[in-house]
C-alpha cells in the first residue's frame, strides 16, 4: 500500500488534487486508532495526515484552542491541563476495546476524534465533540482548500459545516486545522455508587438524578464493578454511579441532596478525585466490555428511559454482556454467537414493539467480513439516504475520500 504524507496545507491540497486527477481513492489516516471503525476500506493508497501536527494557538482566557488536525489528543490534554482546562466532551480511547496493536492503540488525534464525533460519559451534561468544534480548514474531495466556522466561541456566520464534518468519518474533506472550545477543569469530583440495584431501578434513579438540579455529569449502570479492572473499587454488583463535579462546597452540598433522594434503601460507596477520575476513565474507554475479545460490540443510542428494557431484551434473545451510560440513553452491548452480529435483534429492539421507537445502533467492533456484510451505521429511510448521497456529491464527487467508509456509495 502506497502512502501520501503531506506535512502542510499546500502538500495536502496537492495530494488530494493528484488523487482526484488520477481517480485513485484515498484512505485517510493519522494515528490509526480508529481504523477499525466503519466499513472496511481496501484501498491501494492512503493519505497519511500524521505529519500535520502541533498546537497553533491557545488562549486559555478565550476558551479557544487551534491545532493542526493530527495533533495527538495527549498533547492537547497536556497543554490544557497546564492551564487548568480540559476537553469537556471526554474523547474516549478505544484502543484496548478494539484490540489494536500497542503501536496504534492509543494514538488518538484531535481531527480523528472530531471526524468521528466521539464523546464520553460527560456527554449528557457538557455535550458531544461536535458541540466544541468551532471551525476548521481543510481540503474537500474537489481538491479545493476551504474553511468554515471561526475562532471564537459564538458564531452563526454561514452554514455550520463543523457539524457536517463531525461524524462524517473523513468522507467529505481532509481536515488540516481545527479550532475547538475548551472548558475549565472542575475543582473537585465525587462519584456516588448506589449498589445492589437491578437495571430498571438503577435506570430510574439515574434519570431522577438528572432531573434534579444537581448538575450530574456522569450517570452509568454496570452489573459488576470487577469488569472495570480497577483496584480502587471493591467488588460491588448492580451499581448505579452518579458523578458530581464543581467547586468543593457545591459538590458536598449536591452529594448530600442526592444521597437523601436516591439512597434511602440501598448501600452506597463514594469515590473522590483520583478514584473518581479512574472510574469514569474506565467507563469512557468501555472497559466493562474490553475483555470480550471474540464478541461483536454495538453502541446504541435511545431515549434514556428505554435503556434498561432494551439491554435486558437483547440479552434475553442473544448471548449478551451490556451496560448503560448516559443515564440509560447509551447502551453498550457485546454479543457472541449471532451470524449477523446481532444486528437484526438490536435494530428491532430500537424500533420496539410498535415500530415507532427512535435511536440508532453503530457496530463498533466486528470482523472485516461482518462490517462489510451488515450496515455498520443505522440504515436510513430513502429520502435521507439520497440526501446523504447528494451531500457526498457536493464535497467529493469522484469518491476519493474514504469512499464507502460509512455507507456504500458515500
Amino acid at each position: 500500500m502506497s502512502s501520501l504524507a503531506p506535512t502542510d496545507l499546500g502538500e495536502l491540497r496537492d495530494a488530494v488534487g493528484e488523487a482526484l486527477a488520477s481517480g485513485e481513492p484515498l484512505e485517510l489516516i493519522a494515528g490509526g486508532s480508529k481504523r477499525g471503525l466503519g466499513r472496511p476500506l481496501q484501498l491501494p493508497r492512503s493519505l497519511d495526515l500524521s505529519g500535520i501536527t502541533g498546537i497553533r494557538d491557545y488562549q486559555p482566557s478565550e476558551l479557544v484552542l487551534t491545532a493542526a488536525a493530527a495533533t495527538p489528543i495527549e498533547e492537547i490534554e497536556t497543554a490544557l491541563a497546564a492551564a487548568g482546562q480540559m476537553l469537556a466532551f471526554e474523547p474516549p480511547d478505544w484502543g484496548t476495546l478494539l484490540g489494536l496493536p500497542a503501536s496504534a492503540a492509543h494514538r488518538r488525534t484531535l481531527g480523528g476524534v472530531l471526524a468521528c464525533n466521539l464523546s464520553g460519559p460527560r456527554r449528557i451534561k457538557a455535550g458531544a465533540a461536535r458541540d466544541y468544534f468551532l471551525g476548521f480548514r481543510g481540503v474537500s474531495g474537489r481538491g479545493e482548500v476551504f474553511k468554515a466556522g471561526g475562532k471564537v466561541v459564538k458564531n452563526v456566520t454561514g452554514y455550520d459545516l463543523c457539524k457536517l464534518l463531525a461524524g462524517s468519518y473523513g468522507t467529505l474533506a481532509a481536515i488540516e486545522e481545527v479550532t475547538i472550545k475548551v472548558l475549565p477543569q472542575p475543582e473537585t469530583a465525587c462519584t456516588i455508587l448506589l449498589c445492589g440495584l437491578d437495571a430498571a431501578s438503577a435506570g430510574q434513579r439515574l434519570r431522577q438524578a438528572l432531573a434534579s438540579p444537581n448538575e450530574v455529569s456522569g450517570a452509568v449502570y454496570i452489573e459488576d464493578s470487577s469488569t472495570l479492572g480497577l483496584a480502587l473499587v471493591s467488588a460491588l454488583t448492580g451499581i448505579a454511579a452518579v458523578r458530581l463535579e464543581g467547586p468543593f462546597p457545591s459538590v458536598i452540598s449536591r452529594r448530600e441532596q442526592l444521597l437523601a433522594e436516591l439512597a434511602s434503601d440501598c448501600e452506597t460507596n463514594l469515590l473522590y478525585d483520583k478514584a473518581s477520575t479512574a472510574f469514569w476513565q474506565a467507563i469512557r474507554d468501555v472497559r466493562p466490555l474490553a475483555e470480550s475479545e471474540d464478541r461483536v460490540i454495538w453502541r446504541v443510542s435511545v431515549a434514556p428511559s428505554r435503556g434498561p428494557e432494551l439491554g435486558e431484551g437483547i440479552a434475553r434473545s442473544l448471548d449478551t454482556k451490556w451496560y448503560l451510560d448516559w443515564a440509560g440513553g447509551l447502551i453498550w452491548v457485546a454479543i457472541a454467537g449471532a451470524d449477523d452480529g446481532g444486528a437484526a435483534v438490536v435494530r428491532a429492539a430500537i424500533r420496539g414493539a410498535d415500530g415507532r421507537g427512535t435511536g440508532h445502533a453503530t457496530l463498533i467492533k466486528g470482523s472485516p467480513e461482518l462490517r462489510r456484510s451488515i450496515a455498520v451505521f443505522e440504515p436510513q429511510p430513502a429520502p435521507l439516504a439520497s440526501l446523504a448521497v447528494r451531500i457526498k456529491e457536493a464535497f467529493d464527487p469522484r469518491r476519493i475520500l474514504n469512499p464507502g467508509r460509512m455507507v456504500e456509495g458515500v
Binding site: A21, R142, G143, K151, K154, Q185, S253, T358, T362, M406
Partner: protein
C-alpha cells in the same frame, strides 16, 4: 435581492388558486392590506410585499405547498414570528411567504427523558412556561423570547445571555422534522443523542431557512438551578473590565451570564429604569452565577475578589431575587433605553476575541467621530459577542447611509481582529454582502454546494446569506483537465 421573475408575478392568480386547493379556508392571504403585515421582520429598514402569504396548519399542507412551488419554479420564504434582526424573513415580490404561526401546539412533554416535542410556531418562552410547574426550563433565552418562535430559533441558531454556560439552540435540541423543497418529509434525531449518519440536525440549525422548513422540534429541557445571584461591578477603565472578564474565565469560573455595558449604554439605561447604576464609570459588568446556594455564594466571593484585583470602583452583590432582577432590569432595557435617546438605532452583532475588546471599543469611538453618529455598546462579555447600537434618525437618508456604512465598518473590524460577522442574529440580507470579508470564494462555494444538495433549484429563501447566487450546475462542475491538478496557479497558504 434577486430580480423578481415577471412570469411568476403574471401567473399570480393561478398560483393563488392552486395554493387555495392545498390550504383551504383562510390560510391563503391575498389582499394587499393583509399582506402588508408580513412586509418586513425585525430589520425594519427592509420592506417588501410578498406575492402571497400562505399559513398552512398541517405537515401535509407544508409539503403540498413546497412541492407545488418547486413544480412551478416559485420561490418560498419561511417565517416564524418575524423577529429576525438580519432580515432572514424578508419577503420576495415573486415569492410565497410561508408563515408557520398555526403550528403553535406543545405536542408532548416527557419529563422522564427531559425533553419536549413542540410545533415550530410555539414561542421560546412558552416552552419554559409549559414545563415550569415541574421545575424545568428551556435554556436558550434570546431577548425576543416572548415573541420569537422555536422554529425561528432553529433557523437562526439563536443564543441569549445564558449561552456561555448553557449553549445556543444547536446545543439544546434533540430532533426535528423537516419538509424539503421537493415535499419530502424527513426526521432528524429524536429523543436520543447524536446523529446516526451525517449530522443534518446540526446542519439545519442556523441554516436561516435556506435548506428546509422545520415542522416539529424536540428540545432538551433542564431542571432549573436552585438559586441565582448577580454581581454589579463598575470600572473606571474599559481595560480593567475586560481584564476582569478574562480573569474570571481563567480562574475556571463559567458564569451563567456575564454582560458588559459601556458609558453611553449605562447612562441611557439608568435614565430609563433608574436602578442605581453608577454613572461615573466607563464600563459596568453584570456577572450572574447559578446553581446550589453553597456554590453560588462561594463563586460570588471569588468573582468579587477578582473584580477588586482589577480595580473595580464599585461592587454590589445581589442579596435577594428582587435585587438580582433590578441589576438585570437596566441591561434588559438597554435597547429601548437607547431608543429613548435617539429616534432610531441600528443593532449590530459581531463576535471578537475578548482580549481585543478595549482596542475594538476605542477604534469604534474613532469610527463614531468619523461618521458623526453616536454608538452605545452592550456586550455578552463572556463569549465575546458585541452588540453596538448605532444612533441615527431614519428620517434622514444621509444618516441612514452613514449608519449602514458605520455598521459595516464595525463588522469588518470584528473580522479583522479575529472575530466573526454575526454571533447570534444571523447573516440574512443585512450582512450578506460582507460574507466576503470572512470567507473566500472557495469557502462560499462549499457552503452553496451544501445548499444545492437540499434545494437544487435555489427556491428556498434565495437572496439571503450568500452575496452571489450561483447555479448548482455551475457549482457542481469539477475542474480536472488532462490529469493536471485543479487550480495549479492558486496561491498556497
Amino acid at each position: 435581492m434577486p430580480t423578481p421573475d415577471a412570469t411568476v408575478i403574471e401567473r399570480r392568480a393561478s398560483i393563488v388558486e392552486e395554493l387555495r386547493r392545498i390550504v383551504p379556508g383562510e390560510g391563503v392571504i391575498v389582499s394587499e392590506a393583509e399582506r402588508r403585515v408580513y412586509e418586513s421582520d425585525g430589520l425594519t429598514a427592509y420592506r417588501q410585499l410578498p406575492l402571497v402569504v400562505v399559513l398552512p396548519s398541517t405537515v401535509e399542507q407544508v409539503a403540498g405547498v413546497l412541492r407545488f412551488c418547486k413544480q412551478m419554479g416559485v420561490k418560498v420564504v419561511p417565517r416564524g414570528a418575524g423577529t429576525s434582526l438580519s432580515g432572514g424573513a424578508l419577503p420576495l415580490a415573486d415569492g410565497v411567504l410561508l408563515g408557520m404561526a398555526k403550528f403553535n401546539r406543545v405536542l408532548e412533554i416527557d419529563y422522564d427523558n427531559r425533553c419536549a416535542v413542540v410545533q415550530p410556531g410555539v414561542t421560546n418562552l412558552a416552552i419554559s412556561k409549559a414545563v415550569e410547574s415541574a421545575g424545568f426550563y428551556y435554556a436558550p433565552d434570546p431577548s425576543s423570547q416572548i415573541a420569537c418562535t422555536i422554529g425561528g430559533n432553529v433557523a437562526e441558531n439563536s443564543g441569549g445571555v445564558h449561552c456561555l454556560k448553557y449553549g445556543l439552540t444547536t446545543n439544546n435540541i434533540l430532533g426535528i422534522e423537516v419538509v424539503l423543497m421537493d415535499g419530502e418529509v424527513i426526521r432528524l434525531g429524536g429523543k436520543h443523542l447524536d446523529a446516526e449518519n451525517y449530522d443534518l440536525l446540526g446542519v439545519m440549525t442556523g441554516s436561516e431557512g435556506l435548506l428546509g422548513v422545520v415542522t416539529e422540534v424536540t428540545v432538551r429541557i433542564l431542571p432549573k438551578p436552585t438559586t441565582a445571584r448577580a454581581l454589579l461591578v463598575g470600572f473606571s477603565k474599559t481595560e480593567d473590565a475586560a481584564g476582569c472578564v478574562a480573569a474570571v474565565i481563567a480562574a475556571g469560573i463559567i458564569p451563567a451570564g456575564m454582560e458588559m455595558m459601556d458609558r453611553p449604554a449605562i447612562h441611557a439605561a439608568e435614565a430609563f429604569v433608574k436602578v442605581g447604576y453608577s454613572l461615573d464609570v466607563e464600563a459596568l459588568l453584570i456577572v450572574e452565577l447559578d446553581g446550589p446556594p453553597p456554590e453560588v455564594d462561594h463563586l460570588i466571593g471569588k468573582v468579587e475578589g477578582i473584580a477588586r484585583d482589577h480595580n473595580a470602583s464599585a461592587i454590589r452583590a445581589s442579596r435577594d431575587e428582587a435585587e438580582r432582577l433590578a441589576f438585570w432590569s437596566g441591561r434588559k432595557a438597554a435597547f429601548p433605553a437607547v431608543g429613548r435617546i435617539s429616534p432610531d438605532y441600528y443593532c449590530m452583532d459581531g463576535t471578537i476575541p475578548r482580549s481585543r475588546l478595549a482596542e475594538v471599543l476605542s477604534r469604534m469611538r474613532v469610527l463614531s467621530d468619523h461618521y458623526r453618529l453616536g454608538v452605545a455598546n452592550v456586550f455578552h462579555a463572556g463569549d465575546g459577542n458585541l452588540h453596538p447600537l448605532i444612533l441615527y434618525d431614519a428620517n434622514s437618508p444621509d444618516q441612514v447611509e452613514r449608519a449602514e456604512a458605520f455598521g459595516a465598518d464595525i463588522l469588518r473590524l470584528c473580522v479583522e481582529v479575529g472575530g466573526v460577522l454575526t454571533g447570534e442574529h444571523g447573516v440574512g440580507v443585512e450582512k450578506r454582502d460582507l460574507m466576503g470579508t470572512m470567507f473566500d470564494e472557495f469557502d462560499l462555494r462549499h457552503q452553496q454546494r451544501l445548499k444545492c444538495a437540499f434545494d437544487p433549484d435555489g427556491l428556498l429563501n434565495p437572496g439571503k446569506v450568500f452575496p452571489q447566487l450561483h447555479r448548482c450546475a455551475e457549482l457542481g462542475r469539477l475542474h480536472v483537465h488532462g490529469g493536471r491538478l485543479p487550480f495549479p496557479d492558486l496561491p498556497r497558504f
